[in-house]
Amino acid sequence: MMLSHCLLLASALFAVGVYGLLTRRQAVAVLLSIELMANAANLCFIAFGHFRGGATGQTFALFSLAITVAEVAIGLALVILLYRSHGDTKVDLARELRQ
């Protein structure tokens, strides 16, 4: 397995995430898409770490995972607030800044 295979997989994963981010209207789906993009980045860390040798890349990936967990927790809290205030979890309901 080559480095380029890993990067292609990561790119595909990232592209799927972007596509989901732009097209999904459900807040939970948007969060999932962001999660995909984050994991594409993690994959890159691991792949580069593996081919370069040493533990640096893996350490970064672990850190990144921990931060992503925190981010998801906040994201889900926002989803709940969105549901409470608008009665639904569609992102395009939250456009108060426009007004």
């Binding site: 732009l22 992102v91 456009r95 426009r98 007004q99």
Partner: protein, 603 residues
């Protein structure tokens, strides 16, 4: 500092000290009486110093100057500010402080019924005025004189508008301020021309004939405004809206004389221009006659005196135009005393009768012998009756004018002498003799503060003539007692005028006036000069102002408003980009990121 300069410093410093204390200690001012005493204390100090300075100057000696540099520019001072002690400033200072002191003491009684805060404010203005006038008088150069000139203009505005709740008084104050300010431009521009030509504000420069004429004509324009000469005399009669003691001080004895004083001071410049002096002679004599005619038909005692002041200032200007600096200045001095006396006596009568109209008075000489006596002494002096001070000074003026310009100004001044005696006779016979009207029935003298100044000024009016020789000597001219035709003609014209007034008004006010007077009255009622100014104001000044306002509103403001509107409109156009939808923003971020990425790869 020499003694004379120290006295000058005291006479300038004492009033401003009083004014500053009164200005920053409101408790003192609002209580009234303490403010008055502080102000009078300052004036007493100023007067004492001025007398000492005059005595010092009478001993002879060159002019003394003490000054500090002022307005430094490029390391060099443009002008000095300081004190000058010489015969001219010493005699003027003595006149100003004496009249001011008399008027302030008189005001103690006259303004008694004012509320304490207004009473205190009145005396604060008075202290400020005396300071301003003294700054003008002791000025060592024309720039400081100009500063004092403007300061008396401001204090005059404050004092005319003292009864500011009365619309006519407020209007009169504004009118006086505007008219004199308009004229003051002449002094300002004259100073600029003088400075450009000579590099200093001194009055001893030698100028080329053209520059000398330009500078002195510009100065004279300011004199016309300040000394109420035709055609800028219109503010003085209106200024009678102020309290009567104010009229006595500012609009008879001191401030209006500042114009004459300017010419006396800048005499070396005025001597260099024959043209200006001719203009002065003509305008002075013309104003003297014109104002005397108007004084004939006034029914308000203060307005008679106001027009009389215009007329007598015309005498002074004519004398200066004829080249007699001493004659004009001496008439200023004696006029200051007897006109202040007349105004204060008139104030005393007004205070007793509660009316300015001479028709409301009548028989006052019997009820108020002191006031009546004082007024009659003043009137006789003004009429030029031999022996009183007015006779001597008027004689000096007439002597200087005699034979100039084909004797036309001389004839005008002689006619004025007759008219002066006539209108003063009219006031005396109507207001002080004849049957008392209802309002005059309970008239009585004021308290000591109103009587004492009358006695002092009356005494000076009587004996003033005895100092003619001293006065002329102080200003470097010899004077001889002479019994020629001129004085005899003037004196007999004066007596004849009084006689004519007795024939016409000796038996009280008349329903039908003589034809000549009725004609003058008709002309005066048209208020032609005032209307001319109103017409000019409406048709020229307002049109110019309106067009400038249009430029300001639509072009200058339009530029600024247009800029603001443009920014607002641009913002309005740009708003739809902000949808408020998170996916749109994400799209923008991604497009941006891709753009940056492509740019990084290709470049």
């Amino acid at each position: 500092m020499t003694p004379a300069l120290t006295y000058a410093a005291v006479s300038v410093g004492a009033p401003i000290l009083a004014a500053v204390v009164l200005a920053i200690v409101p408790g003192l001012r609002r209580r009234g009486a303490p403010a008055a005493f502080l102000c009078i204390l300052g004036s007493v100090a100023a007067f004492g110093a001025a007398v000492l300075m005059l005595l010092d100057r009478l001993g002879g000696g060159a002019a003394e100057v003490a000054s500090i540099p002022w307005l430094k520019s490029g390391g060099l001072p443009i002008a000095d500010i300081g004190l000058r002690a010489d015969g001219v400033s010493a005699s003027m200072l003595a006149v100003v402080t004496l009249v001011a002191l008399s008027v302030q003491v008189f005001s103690l009684g006259y303004m008694k019924s004012e509320e304490p805060p207004a009473f205190g404010r009145y005396f604060t203005y008075h202290a400020l005025f005396l300071f301003s006038m003294n700054v003008l008088v002791v000025a060592p150069n024309l720039l400081q004189l100009f500063a004092g000139w403007e300061l008396v203009g401001v204090t005059s505005y404050l004092l005319i508008g003292f009864y500011f709740k009365k619309p006519s008084a407020a209007r009169a104050a504004v009118k006086a301020f505007w008219v004199t300010k308009f004229a003051d431009m002449g002094l300002l521009f004259g100073l600029l021309v003088l400075y450009v030509a000579t590099g200093s504000f001194g009055w001893n420069a030698h100028l080329t004939p053209g520059i000398a004429t330009a500078v002195t004509l510009l100065f004279f324009f300011a004199v016309v405004g300040k000394s109420a000469q035709f055609p800028l005399h219109v503010w003085l009669p209106d200024a009678m809206e102020g309290p009567t003691p104010v009229s006595a001080l500012l609009h008879a004895a001191t401030m209006v004389a500042a114009g004459v004083y300017l010419v006396v001071r800048a005499n070396p410049l005025f001597e260099q221009s024959e043209t200006t002096r001719t203009v002065m002679l003509v305008l002075g004599a013309g104003t003297a006659l014109f104002a005397a005619l108007l004084a004939l038909v006034q029914t308000d005692i203060k307005k008679v005196l106001a027009y009389s002041t215009c007329s007598q200032l015309g005498y002074m200007v004519a004398a200066l135009g004829a080249g007699s600096m001493v004659g004009g200045f001496f008439h200023l001095t004696t006029h200051a005393f007897f006109k202040a006396l007349l105004f204060l006596a008139a104030g005393s009568a007004i205070h007793a009768v509660h009316s300015n109209e001479i028709g409301d008075m009548g028989g006052l000489a019997k009820k108020m012998p002191l006031t009546g006596g004082a007024f009659i002494i003043g009137a006789l002096a003004l009429a030029g009756v031999p022996g009183l001070s007015g006779f001597f000074s008027k004689d000096l003026v007439l002597e200087s004018v005699e034979g100039k310009l084909g004797s036309v100004p001389y004839a005008a001044l002689l006619a004025t002498a007759f008219l002066t005696a006539f209108y003063m006779g009219r006031v005396v016979f109507v207001a002080f003799y004849g049957k008392p009207s209802a309002k005059a029935a309970h008239a009585h003298e004021g308290d000591w503060s109103m009587r004492a100044p009358l006695v002092v000024l009356a005494a000076l009016t009587v004996v003033g003539g005895a100092f003619t020789g001293t006065f002329t000597k102080l200003h470097g001219e010899e004077w001889h007692v002479h019994f020629g035709g001129g004085p005899a003609i003037a004196a007999s014209l004066g007596l004849f005028g009084i006689g004519a007034a007795f024939v016409v008004y000796g038996r009280g006010p008349r329903a039908e006036a003589p034809a000549v007077i009725a004609f003058v009255d008709g002309v005066a009622r048209t208020r032609i000069v005032n209307r001319l100014y109103e017409g000019l104001f409406h048709n020229v000044a307002l049109v110019v102002a309106d067009s400038l306002a249009w430029v300001d509103r639509y072009i200058v403001d339009g530029l600024i408003n247009g800029l603001g509107y443009g920014v607002l409109e641009a913002g309005r156009r740009a708003r739809p980009i902000q949808t408020g939808l998170a996916p749109d923003y994400v799209l923008a971020v991604i497009v941006g990121a891709i753009g940056v990425g492509l740019w990084a790869v290709w470049s």
